[in-house]
Symmetry: C2
Subunit: 306 residues, 2 copies
């Protein structure tokens, strides 16, 4: 066993002390053990890769660590579940300095503490390849009715987003706030019907929600215009694509896509459309202009497997 | 969204149907939900990398899929926990054929079914790098006393291994049987005190158990000789290292390291030594010969961070 590995695991155990009431077995055994409030547990996992989801040549390791946790926290918010515990597996480049590894875990630690999510274990490997990080996060439903799914949209529902979209690669993809607090408020409102997070672009994630719910969606161009981020507008000026196109397909927004009664607007959500019946042969998603013109909207966003 | 990704996720959902009683939310949402028997859940995670833990140039994808699951199943056995659910995150090389991806998941599916562990979710990403796979597995204690740890060895305990060691790279590292059935028998025996699996080599993993339990270990050379695998002997003939050296440090055995009363021998375990008091300045591990000679044993095995 190398001194590097002994030192790292001992540092991790000290940096991530386990609260025995919540985490009877923490870092250092073949498995961790977590005590939950109930026997229904949600689990979400995110694999983030150097050169795809972050860039070690440009981004600090602490921000990278923050992002890997924030992505899973966003999934917890999307399901209306409170994060409880996480494991972090890393494939470290053999050339990576131990100080950089610690900085990565420091970023993980800070956001984990902020959201009261215990780091309970993981796996530490090294190879000739680039940095890969996988987080598995355990969570519990925020409300007695259980996790909120993407498959339970209701005809006539309003479609909301929790914030402006597009252009997140300018920096927001590393620094975004997982919408845990908002999800806690939404989770106990009976007007909430379906939810997911926007990780691959609104047009692609809404497409998935429609497929899962067996419905179609109509987006209103005038409302969409108010859901375009400043980053999307700045990006559009540079690359000639439209700001709306950025908002619909850039991905990595990590805002919530919220579907339910229009009363949910009180949570400062941005309405962008409505849930419509799914008709055979018709477009699953359309954008309608104030003058009544309608254009089909194709799902375009971040493609994981091309 | 590419046709490849849509087709893969739909194939995965069909290939891994969720039992609604056990898995209220399966593949396809932001998180899965699993219903456990109790609110104490164990979680273990293993990151396996091409060129380190398997070799896509030489090993079939189905065997690779089998191995990633088997490693986590072995961790569950080591903690005396029944596997319940797993997530699998993959970083796929962009050049990997979709048929190979399916074959990988087929290997995962078969062993998951064999051990009644539901695949409930994961993450599918692709990049210019090599194949990386991370499994997170949820498990529940086999016995009411909870998970069995590596930190609870008792002075005078016998040290056992569940099978012969060394030379697993000849093939056993891909095809080994996770010792779930054995663990179930051991878990209800009060003579069982501590356990872990041998993943990085007996000398290294026993060293970890001694450190965690605050004890030392004496291994008996004559008993160790009976715990050397045929693979280790064959390997030794080729490379000139001793068979014992292979048995002590090759790693990837995935047998159980079992510590407890000598009565545990009835489970067909191989005794190899005894737990001794830890004395300041003395060696943590020694090998003693039948004639009384004692030699210190250094922890040597698979080094993750060098």
């Amino acid at each position: 066993m190398s001194k590097g590995e002994i030192a790292l695991v001992e540092w991790l155990r000290a940096r991530f002390p386990a609260d025995p009431a919540r985490v009877p077995i923490g870092i250092g055994d073949d498995a961790a053990a977590v005590r939950l409030d109930s026997p229904l547990v949600a689990i979400t996992t995110d694999m983030l890769l150097d050169g795809v989801h972050f860039d070690t040549e440009r981004h600090g390791y602490e921000l990278i660590g923050r992002k890997v946790m924030a992505c899973s926290l966003s999934d917890c918010a999307a399901m209306a579940c409170n994060p409880r515990a996480a494991t972090v597996s890393v494939a470290l480049p053999r050339t990576m300095a131990i100080e950089d590894v610690r900085e990565l875990y420091e970023g993980i630690a800070r956001i984990a503490e902020e959201y009261e999510c215990s780091l309970v274990g993981g796996d530490t490997t090294s190879w000739a390849g680039r940095l890969a990080i996988d987080v598995a996060m355990l969570a519990e439903p925020m409300a007695p009715c259980g996790p909120v799914r993407r498959s339970t949209a209701v005809l006539g529902d309003t479609i909301f987003v929790s914030g402006p979209l597009g252009g997140s690669l300018a920096g927001r993809h590393l620094t975004f706030t997982p919408r845990i607090a908002l999800a806690r408020a939404l989770a106990v409102d009976p007007a909430l019907h379906a939810m997911m997070d926007i990780s691959d672009g609104l047009s692609l994630d809404l497409f998935r929600l429609c497929r899962a719910s067996g419905c179609a969606a109509e987006l209103y161009a005038d409302q969409l215009a108010k859901a375009i981020s400043d980053d999307a507008r700045a990006q559009a000026e540079q690359d000639g694509r439209s700001p709306l196109d950025h908002a619909l397909s850039d991905g990595e927004d990590f805002e919530l896509l919220v579907v339910g009664g229009q009363d949910l607007r009180k949570f400062k959500l941005l309405p962008v459309g409505a849930i419509r019946p799914c008709k055979p042969g018709a477009d699953l998603m359309v954008i309608s202009q104030p003058d009544g013109r309608r254009e089909p909207l194709a799902p375009r966003g971040y493609e994981h497997l091309t």
